[in-house]
């Protein structure tokens, strides 16, 4: 770990950098906040020159067509064995920590923005693959801004995923292959969304994919915003194939939640998206009766008001009648 104030001079570019702060640890190295002649930036340092070279190549390739990842500044090394590149510094809070402080509406918008980010990345023909909340930075502005960090897992579609986090990996849950494609990422997003409410226990690591899946479906049934459950389940099953479709259906599921939140203070009776699946039907079966109640609401209110009015009018009539006597 490099202490604050460390001076780093690039061997090839002669650029001088000062380390300000340690920002975090990636899969294969450390990230620091540094002061560069061009301004504050983030520096990724690896003990291996090949990891740095590989990540730099990816950042450069992606930055030409998308801005979800940090903009690359320069790559260099510093004798004897410090290999690094410098990139745009992205401020923000990791997804899992941000999710805790968001209102349901904000959370809905953040996930929507997240899916837009994935759509942008997928348009370049690459998957993020190493999806974990720490790698997704959220600024809860309106509209919320989402950026990805740690390019190490990014894989060209069609190739095998080599860097991943088991709990966010489609293969780990027995939900599909470990080949990079759009639905691999979407599965990871669905898992990340689900794990904002429950954390998978470590014992699952020693269990078979069938047992893991069982745990997963159980956790999904307990997800607090029930209107999203059928959609999440379809994504996990690989039935939603691109980020834009996920985004559209997410928006629809969210407006259903908002509607039901307005009517009663329970999200459980929300409008089910077109293809609801077996696990969710239990919850939806309860919905119609409750919805009936809610539709009665305003008529009920009208009835009581008119009744009250009638009583008042009668009482006044009686009073004036008696007063006359």
């Amino acid at each position: 770990m490099m202490p604050q104030g460390t001076k780093v001079v690039g061997k090839w570019t002669n650029t001088v950098l000062y380390v300000e702060q340690h920002l975090g640890s990636g899969a294969n190295g450390q990230v620091y906040l540094v002061r560069s002649p061009a301004g504050r930036a983030a520096m990724k340092v690896c003990p291996s020159s090949s990891d740095i070279a590989m990540e730099w190549g990816l950042l450069e390739k992606l930055s030409a067509r998308s801005s979800v990842f940090p903009k690359p500044m320069f790559i260099d090394d510093c004798a004897p064995d410090l290999y690094f590149y410098v990139m745009e510094w992205i401020a923000g809070e990791p997804f899992h920590r941000a999710a805790k402080n968001l209102s349901p509406t904000q959370f809905h918008d953040v996930v929507g923005a997240l899916l837009a980010g994935f759509a942008e990345l997928h348009a370049t023909g690459h998957g993020f693959c190493d999806i974990k909340p720490e790698n997704i930075l959220v600024s809860a502005t309106t509209p919320p801004s989402i950026r990805f960090v740690d390019v190490g897992g990014v894989t060209q579609f069609g190739r095998s995923v080599r860097q991943y986090t088991p709990f966010y990996d489609r293969g780990f849950w027995g939900l599909g292959s470990r080949k990079a494609d759009a639905s691999y990422d979407l599965c990871g997003v669905a898992l990340a969304v689900l794990f904002t409410s429950v954390q998978p226990p470590d014992v699952l690591l020693g269990k078979s994919p069938e047992q893991r899946k069982e745990w997963l479906w159980k956790a999904l049934r307990k997800f607090p915003s029930a209107s999203y459950v059928p959609l999440i389940q379809r994504v996990l099953r690989g039935e939603v194939l691109d980020a834009l479709q996920f985004q559209r259906e997410w928006a629809r599921a969210g407006s259903a939640t908002a509607r039901s939140r307005k009517n009663v203070r329970a999200a459980s009776a929300a409008h089910p998206p077109s293809r609801s699946t077996s696990a969710a039907t239990g919850k939806h079966r309860a919905a119609p009766s409750r919805r009936l109640h809610r539709q009665v609401d305003w008529t009920e209110w009208l009835m009581w008001t008119s009744l009250g009015m009638a009583v008042m009018v009668t009482m006044t009539a009686w009073a004036s009648f008696l007063g006359l006597l």
Partner: protein, 244 residues
């Protein structure tokens, strides 16, 4: 890699203790390395310790076999298997590319400016995806491994899943040491493109010692058998001369 077709051959030893039967595993590993194989060792530490002796041996085997050595908790096993396979593949390919660079340009990758290095690494990355990979997983089945076998089984399944996703050809074989009955080593599954989970379910903990050396020798033999047959392509000869 050595041979024309470019195949990466790895032996992965999963053990929780010291060898005590048969030839010296360090000698076996160094023999394997001479034939272009890489030997990786994972020591599973469960609650207790592998012991100083076991640790030293694991390190020396990996060292002699040109591979890596890690001591891990059972929960980390799967991730470690993946990481090791990936990193040793990358290393092998880098060595090959480095050698070529030295011959052609008189420079190694480290001597190149970082921008150029990044281009070389993209080539290595592509090769890693496309090269043929053969892995023998050698599982210690001595008595102390009893509780860890289910975890090992899941790790092998997981490795198989990753290998299946590759664009290049991948083959996995699984052997256990000691084998059932009197044999020191048993082939649970010969080289196949997928792991046969039904066969892995049959892995039982055997009585007897830990013949790590003979297991590495056995793995080396499996590669040899495969190479003898596989050097002849299965595709039909079309009358053209191959360029590579």
């Amino acid at each position: 890699m050595g041979d024309v077709k470019g195949t990466i051959r790895q032996i992965l030893v999963v053990t929780d203790g010291c060898s005590n039967v048969g030839d010296d595993p360090v000698v076996a590993a160094s023999n394997a390395r001479k034939q272009g194989m890489v030997v990786n060792v994972i020591g599973i530490v469960d609650k207790g310790e592998v012991g100083q002796h076991g640790k030293m041996e694991a390190l020396s085997i990996a060292d002699a076999g040109g591979g890596m050595c890690r001591l891990v908790q059972p929960v980390e096993l799967s991730a470690t298997v993946q990481m090791m396979t990936h990193q040793t593949m990358q290393l092998t390919l880098q060595q090959v590319v480095n050698q070529e660079l030295l011959e052609v340009m008189g420079k190694s990758t480290e001597d190149l400016p970082p921008m150029e290095r990044s281009k070389v690494m993209q080539v290595v990355d592509k090769l890693e995806e496309e090269v043929r990979l053969e892995v023998v997983v050698a599982v210690d089945t001595s008595a102390s491994m009893r509780d860890k076998i289910p975890t090992v089984r899941e790790a092998i399944r997981d490795l198989s899943l990753s290998l299946q996703a590759r664009q290049g050809d991948s083959r996995v074989a699984v052997i256990t040491f000691p084998g059932s009955g009197d044999s020191m080593v048993e082939t649970v599954q010969p080289f196949q493109s997928e792991v046969d989970m039904a066969k892995l379910d049959d892995i039982l903990v055997a009585r007897g010692g830990t013949p790590t050396g003979p297991a590495i020798d056995h793995a080396r033999g499996l590669f040899q058998q495969l190479r003898d047959v596989d050097d002849f392509p299965t595709s039909r000869w079309t009358g053209e001369t191959q360029s590579q």
